[in-house]
Symmetry: C2
Subunit: 456 residues, 2 copies
């Protein structure tokens, strides 16, 4: 009997376990889960705080019962301490502090990521929180329930920072978002970032750019956040949301190589440099279809895909991860902000000759009620017209997410922007236009490119 | 100077005119429009009657002023009578009855389609309407405004029939829909058709299947509709919505060949059998990417695409119509119903070995408010796993339209169903799942196919 040990019970680990069992029911699968919450939706945490999700138990993609019914052994509140590749063993600590040695034939490392702790004096003060694990969320919820804070300062204007600005505002707090840079949400171009800032401000979230937080001082009840230049704010709560980094401590014990951003190096079969050991999810480097070098993209969609590939290969298949395109979407108040492929600076760095054109158009025929304007930025290579990326911002009911997916599917197939007009997309006045806005934006890009060519 | 004459001022004709002017501003473009309403959204007509569109003028994709500003000559209320290909002339009747001979270098026929008039005794009785042109809609609106009918019988459960059932119900009429067949909406499989019937009934629309209407008798005020077997209904209004047929009377005067459903035969450059004459839109046969033979698909999306190709080629380009996939979407009350590619019977007829699997899944994470269940039917070839088609039904705010477009884009690229899991689609809990339902449905199809293989 083949013994498959998987370390990590979040998206990548559970996907791997389920896929391995699906393809080979005879394999013995053990998943080592550091806490008591396997297969929880980390992406769902902000919606607990807004009250949109009523019970944290709802955040489980699958319950423990559903998982164990598939004959997967879940070791909850167990921590892997050390991997010994020559013996093919893992040393695992149970919740009572007892150490066990587990043999594996195949091992999958899916240890995920941990929050980046910026160098801020006083960052360990009570009242300063992160949001990555269920434990983090319980701690924050405890503070919100018992201390009833009136305000919060969020350090970092990325996905978690902005989702939590939305959530805590709905919860009744006065929220301030600080960002080191000129613009929040650096996953999109600045003109779209400004629209997100305006949406936050419309909901009374104060957005403060260009602040580097240096110190947090607690008076036992409130916190004062100090930053440069000349920043000082009294608040009842601080949330650090400055990004995450791969958790690779365990991998290092096995001599597993890491690369970009300190993430585990894997090939497209999700194999590490150690035979029999795979890795997947937020702890690994990710193959990107448009980049010559691996990148670091800790996203749930990618963790699921990589886990599925690792699970298949661990039971004898030879599948390859098809690669990421960096497709992502975020909801902030009434806005959806989506993006796939490369931004212009990334495209330039990679040797493309990018041109980005922004188009504004209605999500469906303007004569039908409820039409919303979308802003779409299309990036393509000026030389051959190849699509390189797209960004869309608009109302959350304007099918922004699935429209970026049309671009993502086109990118997957290396379409030119002109070819987007050949796609036979659906149309009825309540949902679109005879040329969908995706195609309208593509045609605007082509028109602009051709005008530039004439000007030369 | 090149003279381009375009006969028809709806989607195909205007698209051709605009594209020709865009690519070659020097070309002289004349568009012959039978009525005073060029570039009107025929697809938008039902929403006038529901009251969702307040003013019929809103239905113009572009106003006459916008069109003439592009230096296109619009001959409104002019009718082309005869084409003489050897002289390259068209005889055109103006609104005063005066005849004019126009020379063309290139001619595009975009005469569209007209409603099918089923063989029903008394079909010309007052109170019996069609809905295809602005004139049709004015006549119907006049009846609704002045006669204030309390009820309507709609003959035909296709797109226009169902949209009008929705619209007239919103308008306050008691609506009955008659269909010759067992199921309405034959563009989707019967399990989805039943859901649409239930939605209609939930809104008090009576759906009567298996009725063949034979006679309509007017008493000067009301109409009695007779059909077999044993059908009789008194109503204040009848709408005939039994489909449309290509309008090719003019094309026949030029010796232009017609084929499937009597539509004009064209190659992928939209050329007819007569040199210098192109045709596009609802009057032509359509190349379908999954079928060996042309089909007849009178849809606005296709008319726009074909018009654009015809317009480019008429000014010297050599572009090919990329083909249709039959992608379409319909809104009926709170439901969106979408479809792309082939249904199982069509796939069988074409020599594929289709398997269709239905999956039910939430449009986004169920823990986030507003989640709706979608039903997705995926059809693929059992031999090689190639995607052949997909159908989705669900709430109109569940991104059904753009989800079918992901399938349509996958079909365009001849993906296998297994490859859909490789697509890097977007995810955030309010809009989707780590595997989008599109991928969940694809994985269910693969699982089912593999179980069947094991059973053999």
């Amino acid at each position: 009997m083949t013994h498959l040990v998987i370390i990590g019970g979040s998206d990548a680990g559970i996907s791997a376990a389920l896929r391995a069992k699906e393809l080979d029911p005879s394999v013995d699968v053990t998943v080592v889960v550091a806490d008591a919450f396997p297969n929880y939706s980390v992406c769902g945490l902000p919606f607990l705080f807004s009250g949109e999700v009523k019970d944290w138990r709802q955040l489980a993609h699958r319950t423990v019962e559903e998982l164990t019914a598939t004959d997967i052994r879940l070791l909850l509140e167990h921590t892997a301490q050390q991997i010994n590749p020559s013996q093919r063993t893992v040393q695992i600590l149970d919740s009572t502090g007892q150490s066990h040695l587990f043999h594996y034939d195949r091992l999958i490392i899916a240890t995920g990521a941990t929050p980046i702790r910026p160098k801020i004096e006083g960052i360990d003060a009570p009242g300063v929180y992160y949001l990555r694990s269920m434990a983090d969320s319980f701690a924050l919820e405890h503070h919100l329930t018992h201390r009833k804070p009136l305000s919060a300062v969020i350090v970092g204007g990325g996905y978690i920072g902005l989702e939590m600005a939305d959530a805590l505002t709905l919860r009744g707090l006065a929220v301030m978002v600080l960002d080191r840079s000129e613009n929040i949400l650096k996953t999109v171009d600045s003109p779209l970032s400004w629209i997100v800032s305006a949406e936050l401000q419309r909901h009374r979230v104060e957005v403060v750019p260009n602040v580097s937080v240096e110190k947090i001082i607690s008076d036992g009840k409130n916190l004062t956040v100090f930053g440069s230049p000349n920043f000082q704010e009294l608040t009842s709560l601080v949330l650090i949301a400055t990004g995450i980094q791969p958790e690779t401590t365990l991998a290092h014990t096995a001599g597993i190589k890491t690369g970009k951003h300190g993430a585990i190096q894997v090939n497209r079969r999700m194999e590490t440099n150690i035979p029999g050991i795979y890795a997947a999810g937020d702890c690994v480097e990710t193959y990107h279809r448009l980049l010559p070098q691996p990148t670091y993209l800790p996203l749930g969609t990618i963790a699921h895909k990589q886990g599925r590939i690792a699970g298949a290969n661990a039971v004898g298949y030879e599948q390859e991860f098809a690669g990421s395109l960096g497709t992502q979407v975020l909801k902030v108040f009434d806005l959806a902000i989506a993006r796939t492929g490369l931004l212009e600076p990334e495209a330039l760095d990679t040797g493309y000759q990018p041109l980005t054109i922004e188009t504004e158009a209605w999500d469906h025929k303007a004569y039908y009620p409820g039409a919303h304007k979308l802003r779409i930025r299309v990036t393509g290579d000026q030389r051959d017209g190849r699509l390189l990326g797209a960004q869309i911002i608009g109302h959350y009911q304007a099918e922004v997410a699935k429209r970026i997916d049309i671009f993502a599917t086109a990118l997957f197939h290396e379409m030119t922007i002109a070819q987007l007009s050949d796609l036979n997309l659906s149309y009825t006045p309540p949902f679109g236009s005879p040329w969908d806005v995706v195609q309208v934006a593509a045609q605007a890009w082509e028109q602009s490119r051709s005008e530039r060519t004439h000007d030369l």
